[in-house]
């Protein structure tokens, strides 16, 4: 009897283990669609000029999650995309590459640009948002369908945004000297839009938006310096009537130049010349 019991036990044990074995198919090919989407000529051009050399993706095809779902916005005309992308190359990528080295933009750059065709109106204020930078990785540019490439002032707007947002990204990598925020903090105001640029300059801020807070003040200085020629920038500063405010702007200019020189080995005036030259070349 004992013998039979042992045999039965042995058989049952074997069956028990076998019944737990995985008899299903082995893991097969992924069922997620990873095929290359339809690429038009513009997509191919963007891949060759931004993705491959700099690992920067330029998104222009609408995805509701790329922008604020509560805003009423629309994608750009396909024909608007390439001129703006070229503007980024000429007035931002190439000048930085020339003065900072071939890897400068590769190392420190937003990984994604999103182009939006429409204006982005801010609810309850008489303002529009020209661009947004998110966590140093993404810049969204609005109203690209409304740029006039025969007018340098029109082209300057998105480039100001890019230089402004890129200034933030540089600051996120290497913070600027906090003493900058203490130069003239008394007139920083959340209702900055009630001031004109001229009024803000008389208070020692380069633009109205610069008078909102220290970090914006710093990158507005960067943005104004890199979207004007030196002569043009000096003319803006020299137009300030209040000598004290004029001196404050010059002090801020010196701190910005020092920030670029000390931290990145970049002569901002050389960068300024190249960026402005690139911008002028864009005007048709």
């Amino acid at each position: 009897m004992k013998k039979y019991m042992r045999i039965i036990l042995a058989i049952v044990s074997v069956l028990s283990f076998m019944s737990c074995s995985n008899s299903g198919d082995s893991v097969g090919e992924s069922q997620i669609d990873t095929s290359t989407p339809i690429l038009n000529r513009l997509d191919v051009w963007l891949r060759s000029n931004f993705v491959e050399p700099y690992n920067i993706e330029v998104l222009y095809k609408w995805d509701i999650n790329d922008t604020d779902i509560d805003r009423f916005l629309h994608p750009p005309l396909q024909s608007s995309v390439r001129p703006v992308a070229i503007a980024l190359q000429k007035a931002w990528v190439e000048p930085y590459t020339e003065v900072g080295g071939v890897d400068f933009i590769k190392n420190i750059a937003p990984r994604q640009f999103t182009f939006v065709g429409s204006f982005n109106f801010n609810p309850n204020t008489p303002t529009i948002t020209l661009g947004i930078a998110e966590a140093g990785t993404k810049i969204t540019l609005f109203n690209i369908d409304y740029l006039d490439f025969s007018d340098i002032n029109s082209i300057k707007e998105p480039l100001k945004t890019v230089q402004h947002e890129y200034g933030h990204i540089l600051n996120q990598n290497i913070p600027y000297d906090p003493i900058y925020n203490q130069i003239n903090p008394q007139n920083y105001n959340a209702n900055w839009f009630n001031r004109t640029d001229e009024e803000a300059r008389e208070l020692g801020y380069i633009t109205a938006y610069a008078s909102s807070q220290g970090s914006e003040d710093f990158v507005e200085m960067v943005s104004e310096m890199l979207t004007n020629s030196k002569t043009g920038f000096d003319a803006i500063v020299n137009s300030i009537l209040n000598p004290e405010s004029k001196a404050i702007i010059r002090q801020k200019e010196a701190m910005v130049a020092d920030y670029y020189s000390t931290n990145f080995g970049i002569d901002i005036y050389e960068l300024q010349e190249l960026a402005y030259k690139g911008m002028v070349e864009l005007v048709k």
Binding site: Q31, F72, P75
Partner: protein, 462 residues
């Protein structure tokens, strides 16, 4: 004892063995994996879209509790492009852009680059700054209803829909533009002209009789707010958006009144009206010489807050000033500039002083700018007011200043407007707004009942 444990152990193991072999998941609910079914869903919609060689006619209401709708004509191509035109505006040329069918919250149709359909989500739209018509570029697929593909906007899923139906065209390129332009023409037919009355009514005729509504059509939003004043004085109102087509318009939500549902209105050129016929009843949108009901707002005139009424060009444009009245202004201005020394005068505005003077007269002034005079020139006319049956009757009494005498003949259309034999109809219109400003002042309209094409909109100074 040991033997007993062994037996129990053997039996337990046997039971475990049999249960482990029990197949309890043999029910095959789906043949394919979730990823495959999602891809299949997208593929089906893409296939439906691209299978129509002559494209789809798309009726799109962005938000039918605020706006009317527009018609888009869309031909989806297998290379990911879509050719499109629409009746949104006069730019009806077919444009090409890209689209995708992808998984979002469900299968979605996304118009990925700008084309006609993004005109409804353009926040730069005049009069609708910041929002446009609150449209979208992303549409959730809700199903195929008898060959019509229904999509919705997740933001306004209860008030928005895009319904695509096959065009049945022989030539998409030619016929889509023709249809869009015919639809635009219908949109013009509903608007007041220089000669047409400003009183646009919706009248329902059924077995219980006739019911008259003030149609209250907002041409910017393509939206109507019909109101009927009941015999007890209570006002009942309805709301719907209009989507024009080559034969008239459809409304959404449908207009339901006394058991019938009116949705499609056909344009009758002979009577310049839009008619919806349902089960022997009719709903007609047409122009009348009188409003559906005479409101008693006129009784407030002359009291505090309704003492001086002005309407000046510098305060901007509001569609409540009728094309006929604008034409009257042009006529007056032309007449005045034909007189000696006034060739450069420009009409500025008008004022109605509603508080009677000791003689019981009120006055109307008309103003012109004269480049030679820093002050506005004004002609003044006196009128005797009587209010009766919710109408204001003004009888011409005379002229009180030199300019009024000199320009009496040239400004007679203005005087005739106020001295309407059939009376004037006055309505309160809330606070003042125009295309350029908004003021907290009360506003109102005066309409001549003798010439119902003449209506002026303005504000009360005090």
């Amino acid at each position: 004892m040991k033997s007993m444990y062994r037996k129990y152990f053997a039996i337990s193991l046997l039971i475990l063995c049999f249960f482990s072999c029990n197949n309890d998941d043999n029910q095959v609910l789906f043949e394919d994996s979730p990823a495959e079914r999602i891809a299949q869903g997208n593929s089906e919609v893409l296939s439906l879209l691209t299978s129509e060689a002559q494209g789809y006619r798309g009726v799109y209401f962005t938000k039918n509790d605020e706006f009317g709708g527009f018609t888009f004509y869309l031909k989806f191509n297998t290379n990911g492009t879509v050719d499109m035109t629409s009746d949104f505006d006069l730019e009806t040329a077919i444009e090409s852009s890209s689209f995708e069918v992808r998984l979002g919250t469900t299968t979605e149709l996304v118009f990925t680059t700008r084309n006609h359909i993004q005109k409804v989500s353009d926040p730069s739209t005049d009069g609708l700054i910041g929002t446009g018509f609150k449209g979208t570029s992303v549409f959730q697929y809700y199903g195929n209803e008898n060959g019509n593909l229904v999509f919705r906007d997740v933001r306004n899923k209860n008030s928005s829909f895009l319904e695509l139906s096959p065009t049945g065209f022989a030539s998409f390129e030619a016929e889509s533009i023709m249809e869009a332009e015919a639809s635009l023409a219908q949109r013009q037919n509903i608007l007041p002209t220089i000669d047409s009355s400003v009183f646009q009514l919706l009248t329902v005729q059924n077995s219980t009789g006739t019911s008259n509504f003030d149609f209250n059509y907002d041409a910017l939003r393509l939206y109507a707010n019909p109101q009927i004043t009941l015999s007890d004085g209570n006002v009942v109102e309805y709301n719907f958006g209009l989507n024009f087509n080559e034969t008239g318009f459809v409304v959404s939500p449908a207009f339901e009144y006394e058991g019938e549902v009116y949705e499609e209105f056909l344009y009758d050129e002979n009577s310049s009206s839009y008619v919806s016929s349902v089960n022997g009843t009719t709903a007609t949108v047409y122009l009348s010489n009188t409003p559906s009901f005479f409101k008693d707002d006129v009784n407030g005139i002359g009291k505090v807050g309704r003492q001086i009424f002005i309407s000046f060009i510098e305060d901007g444009v509001n569609p409540l000033t009728s094309p006929g009245f604008n034409n009257l202004i042009e006529t007056m201005e032309f007449n005045v500039t034909q007189t000696d020394g006034r060739s450069d005068w420009v009409y500025s505005g008008l004022a109605y002083f509603a508080v009677p003077d000791p003689s019981g007269d009120v006055r109307v002034d008309v103003f012109f700018s004269n480049p030679s005079n820093p002050n506005l020139e004004r002609a003044i006319y006196l009128l005797k007011p009587v209010t009766e049956d919710n109408k204001l009757f003004l009888t011409f009494e005379g002229v009180t200043n030199q300019l009024g005498f000199e320009l009496f003949q040239q400004l007679s259309p203005f005087v005739q407007f106020w001295a309407s034999v059939e009376g004037m109809y006055y309505t309160d219109e809330g606070t003042f707004s125009s295309d350029i400003v908004s003021y907290p002042n009360s506003s109102g309209t005066f309409t001549s009942l003798s010439q119902s094409n003449l209506r002026t909109y303005g504000l009360w100074l005090n």
